[in-house]
Symmetry: C2
Subunit: 203 residues, 2 copies
């Protein structure tokens, strides 16, 4: 399943456009995409039959952040060796877990005003948790993931390292968390543990 | 104004008990206390006249966290000199800003299971933001504060310092953020910039 926020309305992306969730479900789900994650298993059940509903045209430029109001954002720093080396930092034995404060999240096509000349960027895999995950065994992790999407992690490097070494503030200026445009459920990919991410600059 | 969550219902505390917000407002506000912060100026206006409504008995043991689902939690570390010295750390020039992940928040009377023998505690002043605060001048800060309450900041010190030095994870075990029981608006105190906090252990 591929889910997006099309101009403020939860929309299932299908081959020839999109299915408006609120219309197709007669108001049972949507239009607020964020509310779907609160009842994810029930929504998945509904979505299985959504291919039968009439589709509407989708304008890619109107796709917004598919997770606009997450309860919490866990950001894992220095999570692969090449990045730790590039940053001149040691690979931590426990994941370096900070946050991007949720108010910094924005849509995939956002124009972001840079607060200084010290802003860096990194492409990120974003996993959206769909069911309560508390003390979960590593092998059971994917069962709690509603879907994955792509994010940009903008960082004001001076503030990131100055704030007592706490990363979160320098990574949370307004607009520093573009996300989306599409949430993809894990069953849509061959192997969710083996995904390639890319980032193109100026084309 | 003194506001609390009494057994799941937003309640204004008055001299002889509490005014149930949903009942007194005929459903316009409450019973969900968190939703009040989304329309704080309108709620304040309603609350001014709430003294005229009949009050109900309040059981202190049934008061919960007055801010159960904040959008984001900004935690400021090493924010006074004595604490930095006690921690053997330098006072940072930029505030060390981390988060307590919102799922760790709990009520004021919570029983918290400690995950190890390395758990420390600190009493904290909690300021609850009631109106959008973006690039606010220091002098205008209090105008955005809905109210203040008290919190406990539990920390698993080994995880706090191990996780690449990022504090947030070790401060966010389940139950590590007891809050409340009462949200007090700034006008209720003589000088909100001069408040004393205390923490008693084992009576």
């Amino acid at each position: 399943m591929r889910l997006a926020d099309h101009d403020g309305r939860a929309t299932l992306l299908v081959e020839d456009g999109g299915v408006d969730v609120a219309t197709a479900s007669d108001g049972r789900f949507g239009p607020d995409i964020q509310a779907l994650y609160d009842e994810w298993p029930a929504f998945l059940e509904f979505a299985e039959g959504a291919g039968a509903f009439p589709s509407v045209a989708v304008d890619e430029a109107r796709l917004r952040n598919p997770v606009p109001r997450p309860r919490q954002v866990f950001a894992i720093g220095l999570n692969y060796r090449a990045h730790a080396a590039e940053s001149g930092m040691e690979v931590p034995s426990t994941p370096a877990t900070f946050t991007k404060f949720p108010a910094c999240l924005t849509g995939p096509g956002a124009e972001v005003a840079l607060p200084s000349g010290n802003v860096d960027w990194e492409v990120e895999l974003v996993a959206v948790i769909g069911t309560r995950a508390d003390r979960v065994a590593e092998a059971d992790g994917w069962a709690h993931v509603a879907g994955i999407t792509v994010g940009q992690d903008l960082s004001e490097r001076v503030v990131q390292l100055a704030a007592g070494g706490q990363f979160s503030l320098g990574k949370s200026y307004r607009g520093f968390g573009p996300m989306g445009p599409v949430l993809v459920t894990p069953d849509e990919v061959d192997d969710p543990d083996d995904l390639a991410l890319g980032c193109a600059l100026d084309g």
